[in-house]
Amino acid sequence: MDRQAGPRAILEGLKAAGITLIATLPDENLTELLKLVEADRESIHVPLCREEEGIGICAGATLVGKKTAIIMQNGGFLNSCNALTTTALQFQIPLLLLIYYAGDIGDRGFATVGTVTEPVLHALGIRTYLLRRMEEIKETVHQAQVLAWDANRPVALLLTKDVLGTRG
């Protein structure tokens, strides 16, 4: 199996959506995707120290006309809850959150962070879609950005190992 097929489809979806600024923080399972983002010359890649600053950076870039996304682990999503609440939600900033779903079914480890991920997203009122099938990746990434833009809110996609090419 081509382990880069999923990450490539994610990047294609981001491009189809017109996203040109991508803030990221690594996870082992995001490595291929982040390498593709770094190599892409058409978009600005901002590596972060902490996920919540990425929400601020994306908010600023959005307010001068960029379409933005942040790629992080679900532990990092938990780090960014205050920024999401006080900046993105309060001031209605569209933003695409691509969240690696550590502690997904079938995983060993990270069950605690996996357990709280979806309830916290729901508590924040962030519409969330789970990506598991390769054929749905590109279109769903694109459509999630359209929803974020239309709703003036963050929208989350949970990236499983199945679509990141790291299962098994």
Binding site: L21, I44, V46, P47, L48, C49, R50, E52, E53, G54, I55, G56, I57, C58, A59, G60, A61, T62, L63, V64, G65, K66, T68, N82, A83, T86, T87, Q90, F91, Q92, P94, W149, D150, N152
Partner: protein
């Protein structure tokens, strides 16, 4: 040195810069001195400088000035590292350091106990980061920063307390729309989604 006196010398230096004016009393004092559509008020503690980085990366030909505070910078010091790494040449960060969480009850911040935000900025890799203690030094440092094609950090050590000014009468969401429409107009680009036709 009073923050308001620093803002008074800053006001004539500002023309079409986009500004993140952030928090509490600083934002109110700035608005009283220089009400303008290019002031962005929407930011919560810890995110002023990151939002400024986003503006600066998104519009590299336009100058961006952030008014930040010691408590905010200490909450998210990694923001200085990202400024150093991204090196937006059009970004100036002014930090008003009153050594206290003044809006949060007045207890001291770590800068009251020796933490040096300009040294932190330099350690992060920002070459032009300095601490100033007089209005004259503040003026000189900011004037140099606004001409420089590199990111700059000016940490102004100020007294606690502020000026009594009339507070602005708009809410943050309104300010966001006004700011975005201003950028749309001056940059000729669409920022906010059009309603469905």
């Amino acid at each position: 040195m009073k923050r308001f006196d620093c803002l008074k010398v800053l006001a004539p230096m500002i023309t079409d810069e986009l500004m993140v004016v952030g928090l509490g009393a600083t934002a109110q004092e700035w608005h009283a001195l220089k009400p303008r559509e290019a002031n962005l008020f929407i930011i919560a503690m810890g995110y002023n400088t990151p939002v400024g980085v986003g503006l600066a990366l998104g519009l590299p030909h336009r100058r961006v000035v952030v008014l930040d505070t010691d408590g905010s910078m200490l909450l998210n010091p990694g923001a200085l590292v990202t400024v150093a790494v991204e090196r937006p040449p059009n970004l100036t960060v002014v930090v008003f350091d009153n050594q206290a969480y003044e809006r949060g009850g007045g207890l001291p911040t770590a800068t009251a106990r020796g933490a040096d935000l300009a040294a932190l900025a330099r350690g992060a890799g920002i070459r032009h980061a300095e601490r100033v203690r007089s209005v004259r030094a503040f003026h000189r440092a900011v004037a140099a920063a606004l001409k420089r094609r590199q990111p700059s950090v000016v940490v102004a050590r100020v007294e606690r307390g502020g000026e009594k000014v009339p507070w602005r009468q708009t809410d943050g969401l309104e300010d966001k729309y006004r700011f975005a429409r201003y950028v749309e107009r001056t940059e000729g680009r669409r920022i906010l989604a059009l309603p469905e036709q």
